[in-house]
Each structure stands twice: as structure tokens, then as C-alpha cells.
Amino acid sequence: MTSIVLLYRLARRDLRRRPAEALLLLAALAVASTTLTIGLVLHGQTAVPYAETRQRTSGPDVVAALFPPPGRSVTGADRDRLAALAGRREVAARSPAFPTTWASIEAAGVNGVAEVQGRDANPSPVDRPAVVSGHWVDGDHGGVVVERAFARALGVDVGDHVTLDGQRLRVVGVAVSAALPPYPQLCTIGCILDRPGWPSAQPGLVWAPRHEVGSLSSGREPVVWFQYLRLHDPSTAPAFAARYGADGPPTGRTDLEPWQAIAARQAEQLSSERTVVVFGSTLLVVLALATLAVLVGGRMADEVSRVGTLKAAGATPAFVARLLLASYLAVGLVAAAVGLVAGRVLAPRLVARSAGLLGASGPTSVSVGDVLIVVGTILAVVVVASVIPAWRAARTSTVHALAGAGRTPHRSRLIVRASAGLPPPALFGLRFVARRPRRTLLTAMSIAVAVCGSVVALYAQASLRAERGPAGGPADPQVAQLHTVLLAVTLLLVVMTAVNLVFVATASAVDARRLLAVARTLGATPAESAASLGVAQVLPAIVGLVLGFVAGSAIFRALAAHTVTPPLAQLAGLALLAVCLVVALTAVPARIEALRPIAETLREA
């Protein structure tokens, strides 16, 4: 009991003595646990908004689409068959059949293609789109209602005008429905896009009064019919669709899409965001590990003498190891708590932007499992990063520890020999690298992680650009959303790496202080001193850069179904930026150190 109180007291004093380190550690671990939490929350989140939208709009269990064979229009016999299908005894409720066709749409300079569905003013028993602003279509007053995700992509709102095949119409409402896949995947249910330039278009849904559809249809885009069905047992929808639906090219028979397929596509949209977040959080966890290892390693030198005092006073090695762990574990727990709360707050914001669904900002829950995963991961990071040095410190002989020797610098003959003929800054820099191989490794690793994340982001952006429709077309909300998430994750990575770098550079500069002071008495100029510290950072940075590029492109190739290589200029730009950032972040502490009065340093030594 006494030992726990003592442990607590010593650990608390330890944190107080080094607030900057404690804060850096807290930031690194909190950012990692936040992204981890977001990833976990998104995982459970995907089904919720669709289910809610389905419920609030009387969503269909099965979407029936009647397409004519190529070059023909729908015949009376075809429509009879659709009516027969809708009359089957498995069907509990049905909407009327709605005529649907395709038209060019133009809104405020954005050109695209719209799927126009003819609707009645009175609500349908199945699929009653929820009007989020304005009002529903009304045959007497004209005007159209635009599906919300499509409206956002076009940049239109209630009161604006759109031009459908040259016909100017007012937007009277914006609505959301569960009967369609998320924009821009509308055509996964079926489209007829026969005009030149259209096949690459990504149509969105527009509801119009029934009579408008007839005037918009043509020989090339005939009228097709959509009918929405509710079954007695929604879970049998896939079986129903498989039994009565038509496969392959339109044959005049009816395509059937079960609601589960639509839900899966809605979830898919979130899943790519989740992949980005999970990948980003993995990298951030690795980075936090590096940060921690740098901190622990950098502290060992002056920690050992304290450990020595404790041991001389009779503390067991196990107690010493526990003490070192205790302060980091405390920070880790706080960080995990911060991350859980922040993740819980931020996650719904990511989901809320799926404009095609309702209730996306509904309750988001962090399950007990999520809490365990986040806390477990963070604590594991802390233990892994500090247990080895703590164990090593605890094992150092008491006499050696009292002498405050810390770890004696390594001497790598290879590096010393390789540096022999180089100009002094490079020579010193290489020898600093040789002195602290572990720190050098960690620098390389942090940079590799950040560069890896950025390279994956570049690849992903390039792929997204390649998937995008023709220029001047409507904006793809999913692409925009992914862009944002990618950018946020990349920025987090870069910022955390930058903080890490400054810390490592400062630690190295302090570490090299006496050595540089002596070198300066021998005639090394401040510029030479700073440059040698720079070399010590830039060398591992270059290694990290190369590793990051290789790992980043390999990971993206492994994750993505098809790879689009980003422009060479972008990759080169990233490399250049990384090097500049490393140089700039290293230069400041190096310069400060290089201008420190020599006499003072020598006096302290």
C-alpha cells in the first residue's frame, strides 16, 4: 500500500517536472485514440441512417423496374406482367407504377443527366420521399423536387431553376428517399443513357409531375416504369427478387432490387470512409508509438541517475520499472478518455454528410467493446514503448547509474570509417547518427509513417479523380466527403510527425551540446555545427522518405481494387515538401543550439 502511494507521488512529480513532454505524449496518444474511436463508431454506424430513412419514408422492400428491350418501348403486355407481379400474395402494399425517363439537366452552369420520375400530388403508399425543404410535386402548379444528394451536387435549392432538355422548371422541393442507391450510383438499378456523351454521366433523381415525363421521353430514352413494393416479410425480399426478377439486359421483363442491396450500397459509401479512418488511425497509433519511444529513450540518459538514487535507497528494480511505467500509463489513460469523447463527438459529423439519407446525425453509440479496444490499444502502446527501456534502466548497475553515465554512445566503425573523408559537418552528422542508432531509427520510422500516409492519400485522390464524371458535371458528394476525410487524416499525420520531429531534433541537439561546444573550441563555425545536426536528422529522414514511398504505394495497391498512379509531379512535390519540412523543423533547434555560448556549456559539462 505504501509503495502504491509512493509510486503515485513520484509519478505525479515526474509529470509535473516535464509538462511539455507530458503534453506531447498526451496529444499523440489522444489523436491516435480519437481516430481509432471514429473508425470503430463508423463501423457500427453504417446501418442506422438507412434504416431510419427507410422507416420514415415508407421505403420499399423491393424496387421493380420495367425496362423495354432495346429499340422498343414498353407494351401493354409488359405493363400487365408488372401489374401481375405487384399483385402477388407475398406483396403487402404497392405504389402506383411511376413513368420514368432521362433528360439533360442544367443548373447554374453545371451540366448533367437527370432521371426524371413522374409522381402524383397525393402520397404513395410505398416510398413517400421525405421533403426536407419546400413542398412535394403538384401537377397544378408544376415545378420539380430534386433528391437531396443530387441537389447538393448540382448546387440547387428550393426556388432555383433547372433546365430539363431545354425546358426551364422551378425547384419546388428537396427530398430524401430510401428507394434508390446513394448518388451517384443511381444507375446500378438501371438507366438508359443512349445520347452521345451520356454513358459516362452519373444521373441523379428528379421527381416531376407525371405529365412532364411524357414530354421528356423520346425514342432514345423511352419511358420505363418503376413500382415500389412492400412485402409481408421484408427479410424475404432477396428471395422474392431472385424468384421473379429478370437478369441481364432489358427484355421487357421486370428487374427487381431488394432493399438489402440498396442498404448495402449505402453502407459501402461509408465503408470507404471507414477504411480511410481505420488506416489513418493505424498509422497514428504507430506514430504515437514512435513519439513515446523517442521520449522514453531521450529521457533515459538523465533518468538513470534518478533510478540510481532510488536503487541506492533500496528500491527493487521492479519498483523502478513500475515507476517509469506509471507516469506514462496515467497519461495514456487520460489520452484514451479524451479520444473516446472526441471520437464520439466527431463521428456523427462524418456520417451526417451523407445527404441522401435522413437521421444520419442520430444517436451514435460507443460500445463497451469500443472502449475496451481503444483503452487496450493505447495502454499496449505505452507498455510496449516504455517497458524495454524501463527494464534496461532497472537492470543497470547502481554504481553505473549513480555516475549518471546513461547509455554509453555506440561507436559504429563502419559509419566512422565511411565518414572519414567527408567535410566536417557531414562527418559530425554521421557520427551523431552512429551515437544514437535507436533515435535515428525512430526518426526514420516517424517520417516513413507520415510519408506512407501521404502517399496513400495521393493515390486515393488520384483514383477518386479518375472515377469522377466528366468535367463541368455535378460534384460527387462521396468524392468530396472522401477528399475531406483523407485530407484531415493526412493533416493529422503530418502535424503529429512535425511535432515529433521538433522534439527529436531538440533532444538530439541537447544530446550533442557538449560535443558541439568542444568542436567549436576546435574551430567549427556555428553554421558547421548546425549543419552537422541537420545531417544527423536529414539522413534518417531520407531513409524514412524512401521507406514511406515504397510502403505507401504497396499498401494502396493491396487495399484498392484498381490503382491509378498519381502524377509524378505530385509525388516529387511530396518528397520535396517532406525534405524541406524536415530541414526547416530541424534547423531551428540546431541553430539555437549552435549559437549557445560555448563557455557556458563547458562550465556545465
Binding site: 557520427r431 557538449r514 576546435l522 555560448p597 560555448i598 563547458l602
Partner: protein, 244 residues
Amino acid sequence: MSGVVRVVGLAKHYGNGNALVRAVDDVDLEVATGEAVVITGPSGCGKSTLLHLMGGLDRPDAGEVWIAGRRIDHTSERTRARLRRDNVGFVFQEFHLMEELTAVENVELPALLAGRSSRQARRRATALLEQVGLERQAGHLPSALSGGQKQRVAIARALVNEPAVLLADEPTGSLDSAATIEVLRLFERLRANGQTLVVVTHDQRTAATADRMVGMRDGAFVEDVALGPETASAAQILTAGSRE
């Protein structure tokens, strides 16, 4: 202007108000070429501070510092570094060798900084190690050398660029008597060869290696005596010391 090192009205203060310490207080000193000067005085009287100022490791609050005919107290850190490299050799009580470099690598370092080729630097370093009697230890790391050997390596390193003046701060302060004698013999030989020397010490035996002794107290000089050739030779004192 004959002095290799000349300081005029030199002052360096620390702190202020009641806590003001006049570490060096209006000091004038001129060291002629080939002269060996010893500065002595009690602990805290400002000897190290003065030596640092003379070598351009620190900036004075007032006064002038001239080395090899150039005034250095106003110049940039970079210029002073260059000047140090070419004209000043430092020896410290704590040796300040680079632990991860061998003896010969330590010695050649200033030559490399001065832009010599690595072959030239190595040749010069080897020759100097031979002069200080450590040719067999050339490949040893400092951790494998005794205190006296470390200090001799440090002296060799200070001499590698043939400096106009060698500044030594308590060079025997960390050494036992036997090692002290090794180092003093070396200083004696340097003086005989005409090397300009300024040595800070409170070791009486070290004083014997000098042409001139300056006494210091509270930042100022209190005596300045020329030690004639009639002074007991260093060798004699050294022998006497080793018998103690």
C-alpha cells in the same frame, strides 16, 4: 604590435545588483611570441573566464581582445571560430575528447575542420602523437587511455593546426602526480620549442614551466612577475614533486 595575445581593459560581469560578480575586472595583458605565461589565483577569481575571453569562446562586456594582430571581441561567432581554428589551441581540465573517436581521430579533427585533406591530417596527427609519446595508442578509444594519456592526446589535438597560442585551463587538475609530471614535461618541451603558452593553474609545479607568472584575485591582476632562468628548472621541481 608584438603580442600574440593582447587584452586591453577587459571586463566580464555576471548577475546584477547585489549579486553582481566581476569575474574579470579591467584586465590588461600582453603575451609575446614564444612566451609562456602562467595565471594563478584562488578558485572563483576569474581565471577560466579570462581564458575563455582570450580564446574568443565568450564575449567581454568591455575591453578588447587581440589575437595574432586581429581584434576579435566584436567579430561574429563565425569569424571567431575561424580564428580559433587557425590560431588558438585549447586544453581543458576534463580533456573533452570525443568518446567515440580514437586518439588519432581526435587529434586530426581540427585539421579536418581547417580543410586539410584527410591524408595530410592523418599524417600530422600521427606525428604529433609520436611527439607526445602515444604512437602505440593511436588506435585506442579514450576510454582505454589513462588520465595522463588522455590529456596528452588533448594537447596533441590542440597543436595540430600549429596555433599561435595554446590556452590551457587547469591541464593537470584531474591528474595524479605521475600523470601530472608526464603532462608538465610536455609543456616544458613545448616552451623550449618556442610555443606561446598561457596556462591557468593553481599547481605550483606547473608555474615552473613558465617565463612569467600572473597572480589574480577577484577578477583583477595582483602580481605579474617574470621568472628568470635562475628559477629552479621544471625538471628539478618535478623530480622533487614525484618524491613526495
